[in-house]
Amino acid sequence: MEMWLLVGLIVLLMVLRQPVLVLLGCAALFVYSVWGDGRPEYAVYDVWFAVNQEVLLAIPLFVLAGAIMSKGTIAERIINLMREVTRPIPGGLALAAVLSCAGFAAISGSAAVTLLAVGGIMYKALIEGGYTKSFAIGALCSGGVLGIIIPPSIPLILYGYITQVSIAQLFLAGIGPAMVLVAIFAAYGFILNFKRREGGWRISGFLYALRRSIFALPIPLIILGGIYGGIFTVTEAAAVAVVVAVFVEVVLHRDLSMTDLKGVTVESSKLLGSLYPVLAFAFALNVFLTAEGVPQSLVAQLNGVIDGKVEFMLMANALLLVVGMVIDVGSATLVLAPLLQPLAEAQGIDPVHFGIVMIVNLGIGYLTPPLGLNLIVAMAAFKEGFWTVTKAVLPFIGLMFAGLMVIAFVPEIALMFIDSR
């Protein structure tokens, strides 16, 4: 009876156009009042504990660093270098687009930021280079998804936070799957655009592009090298990323004024102001569910039904694909990871591997209608209609799905860098 009351309350609030934070907050109040000890104030204590966590420090700082680098010219400089490097290769510009997305993803941590930063420059170049509109949109939208797979990745931090899995290990595990997806996208671009070449090598052009990007290229190395070289933690790496980004864009490149910096900071606050309350209320619900032993009983019940790793992987991926179509990656991770991760572990699946599978899977949701974020961003950025964008990404959804299956059923791809350490 109470369960139906809760469902009814959530539906009513949705009809009343309430934001996700209100839905989750009311759900937290409800469960603590009805099923808990009748102490709704526990929900606000959980909010306090959720936002007062050192492990979360990395998120706002990586968000700010990504925003600063998007606002400046780091993306443009990386793209120019990639174009010079791939000039003689058939379909080189397509490869440059994918590699630029991968390169920018390594400093942004976000899919839509990567799509806009790279797409804003590469879309016009691809069209002028004779590539079809459909291919250009599809390649850039799917390349943008690399932003949440290549470290640093905000959804991976959320997964690590909510499931208590090492974020440093999750970052390492993202590298192999990202390489698989880059290889798949590049191979597709190569085959489809075999006859298109930009020309031969231009040593002067290459050296010029290299000189322009000389301060941008080491940034991913500083961030990841610092973490895995034991110089600083993931959290500290995020602070270093902000300071380096400000230094490069304001002092060295001089492409960002202090006024721009202030605007970028306000934009980052806006993003965090919408993410953190959702995270805090999801945390409150998670605390309640864990205290009541819900994940444990779910594991016990489903373990009898699910027969082995393969069946679980298929079922979990099917569920996540559907969820990814209607819920954003952050919310889906915060709500589902605490429920699915114990199930995966009970089936003998490495929690780090499962985290990567989950994020790659939910990443496909960026490309699927009706709510795929990269579709909406691409519509606005490239001034194209919904169906044009949706049709353009269809082959890339297939490619990403193929990549997901490889990543899901060959755990070594995700775990190779962890095992080798």
Partner: protein, 197 residues
């Protein structure tokens, strides 16, 4: 009412900017100190966490000012156009009530901490001063939404496509505020805005 919204919005934006600077600089100083002097700065991480609490809580208001909160639109089509404005007012009032309720609960938490005399682990700062940020953030958002319920024309839009394109849909309350930088020439900022949905 417009002046109240403008004052709250401007104050919260400046707090988040200062808090971001506090976070980045305290952690960076800790790393530098550890590398140079072989010892970290005592309490640097705690200071950064305080900054994060400020950003995350006062950021709620920044997101509200720019229509940046995630909202499922599953049932939007069910509402007839004729009562659209009424439902919009009702929606603002319900959100205001929600924030007011949580402000009350947060106030209770703050009072409990004052009574118990809880302090942070390293800097020994009174915890209630930090928890008060949660109370203030919920309270200012309650005020915002009650004002929106009374004056729907002051409520910011929540158009995803516009934000994604980076169109100038900045703070409706204070167009002259230099902190308002949601302009078309900011692809990164626009993406951040879109990502928040």
């Amino acid at each position: 009412m417009s002046a109240v919204l403008s004052f709250i919005g401007r104050t919260e934006r400046w707090i988040t900017i200062a808090a971001f600077a506090l976070m980045a600089l305290s952690l960076m100083a800790d790393v530098v100190s550890r590398r140079l002097f072989m010892t970290g700065l005592i309490g640097a991480t705690e200071v950064a966490v305080i900054g994060m609490v400020a950003v995350s809580m006062f950021g709620i208001g920044v997101a509200t000012d720019e229509g940046g909160h995630l909202r499922p639109r599953l049932f939007d089509a069910l509402i007839p156009k004729s009562i659209d404005e009424l439902v919009d007012r009702l929606a603002s009032a319900v959100t205001g009530l929600f924030f007011a309720l949580f402000a009350g609960l947060a106030g209770f938490m703050v009072l409990q901490s004052v009574v118990l005399g809880d302090r942070t682990e390293i800097l020994r700062a009174p915890i209630w001063t930090l928890q008060a940020m949660i109370f203030l953030a919920f309270a200012t958002n309650a005020v915002r939404f009650f004002i929106y319920a009374a004056r729907p024309d002051l409520k910011p839009g929540e158009d995803l496509e516009t934000s994604a394109a980076g169109a100038a849909d900045g703070d409706p309350h204070d167009p002259h505020d230099p902190g308002n930088h949601n302009t078309p020439s900011e692809p990164g900022a626009a993406a951040q805005s879109a990502e928040s949905r």
